[in-house]
Assembly symmetry: C2
Homo-oligomer: 149 residues x 2
């Protein structure tokens, strides 16, 4: 019973849609993250931006967007808020003034330690084993690649 079947019924059900499963799982994840992120004063998008910078500091807006699959028009206000929170600094690149370089401040780096408790909470809420979660993550990432092709 799937929306793509050529089958007998013409009543397509919402629960048959992969897109809805992902859409609603994303919302559910947001709901689990919300109280955890409130404690460190970040929204979800701000959090993944910080995770990306913790992984590699001193990026341009464009490279950050490429990593996060977000447009610069989305990132600009997000980064301005992170700057307002004192977690990052935004400076024009000296050699190419079109680019804005994003760098962690001391406070931004310090926040990483406080954020360390979050992933284990999510793992627990997922009700999955580490290996199973890793496999599911891999499959979904592969789906994303196909869709963006």
């Amino acid at each position: 019973m799937d929306q793509t079947s050529t089958g007998k019924t013409d009543t397509v059900k919402l629960d048959d849609f992969l897109c809805f499963a992902i859409y609603s799982a994303n919302h559910a994840l947001n709901r689990v993250y919300k109280p955890l992120l409130d404690e460190i004063g970040l929204t979800y998008t701000q959090y993944i931006a910080m995770v990306t910078l913790w992984e590699q500091d001193d990026r341009t807006v464009g490279s950050l967007g490429e990593k996060l699959f977000l447009e610069s028009s989305t990132l600009t206000p997000v980064l301005k808020r992170l700057e307002g929170l004192g977690l990052i600094a935004r400076t024009r690149d000296k050699t190419d003034e079109r680019q804005v370089r994003v760098q962690l401040t001391a406070a931004g780096r310090a926040l990483q330690a406080r954020a360390k408790t979050i992933p284990p909470c999510i793992l627990e809420a997922s009700g999955l084993e580490v290996e199973e979660l890793a496999r599911l993550k891999k499959e979904i990432a592969a789906l994303r690649s196909s869709l963006l092709r």
Copy 2:
């Protein structure tokens, strides 16, 4: 290599996050849907609301929100736009005036036929077989259930 491992590196990578896989796959799906939905003049959220009504007409705002995991504060403006497009009618329930009943118009029902071409396009873009897609959908729905527990 996972953010939950107790392993050697303390550098947690964005690509290790299940939440990011789902978050970005959701955006990727949106990007595939966008041009298809443009043809029938709906946004993604408007589309899933219509799918829900095609599955079962004459719902209250609350029951629609329960199905879609959305708050009334999100649904009210979405439904008003669908009403403005002439696809649905919103009327107060005669026996309980607190509730608003949402019903398809003739135009709303007619749109279902035009929307039939969308799911096959998504299936193709996913690069997955029908069975594989159904299995993945099921796993993600199960994850959602765990998260909302």
